[in-house]
Symmetry: C2
Subunit: 122 residues, 2 copies
DNA sequence: CGGTATCCTTACGGATACTG
DNA sequence: CAGTATCCGTAAGGATACCG
């Protein structure tokens, strides 16, 4: 399928984005950028993410070198997550996208309204 | 779930990104930005996307006001897609993200290699 | 507290066939 | 050519229960 596309680096971009560009990864990076350092359950509560997905997402981000994990073997245990330099760098274009999203949410909603209204009166 | 998160606009950002931030929408916007105007089957061939997904993706993008569709009632019919000003604006932060992805693909792969190697020797 | 393991439901997305 | 409709397999992701 994506073996012979004409768009040269489309599948490479797609490749990276499918790794770090998913729903939860984006929100985790944004949150860590804002709060600098967070514990597992803090992230969980902030994002309203399920325990399973947060675990998977953090593991993926750590694997890709965007997030660093620090385990404190206290009782009860304490694990802190923060962005690596690479994660911080990733946050830059990401926040640009986030800001655009927030600024243009209204425009998109308006376009949707118009489209649906036009489609509605058949 | 996302009703009472502490991260104020996280779910709003998430909202927009879940609309226009999926795999195929991103690639369609990038392609349309590069080639300015494309027909249905040109996009299909370039992206290696299935007919069904392209149709759904384009309809979604048109609905959100990012893509404009022009139908020429010739025989055979001819439909051209191009980015609206809003779509063009969206492409800016998106291409920044794409460039970052391409530039840092190696760093990510390296991090992955290191992580997997460390996990591998149990 | 910070996870992992299991189950289960949904929704994404490809293949195919058909229409204008 | 430019879609729509249908079928179907896979995988994303929540809920729950349990472990260190």
């Amino acid at each position: 399928m994506l073996d012979s596309p004409q768009c040269p680096d489309c599948h490479r971009i797609n490749d990276v984005l499918s790794r770090v560009g998913d729903r939860w990864s984006v929100l985790v990076v944004i949150s860590l950028s804002r709060y600098h350092i967070l514990r597992f359950n803090e992230l969980k509560r902030k994002l309203g993410i399920s325990q399973r997905m947060l675990s998977l997402t953090l593991k993926g981000l750590e694997r890709d070198g965007l997030v660093s994990r620090t385990y404190h073997p206290t009782i009860p245990p304490k694990v802190e997550y923060t962005l690596t330099p690479l994660g911080l760098a990733f946050h830059e274009p990401l926040s640009a996208l986030g800001h655009w999203a927030l600024q243009n949410l209204d425009a998109i909603d308006a376009a949707r309204g118009g489209y649906d209204a036009a489609a509605g009166k058949r």
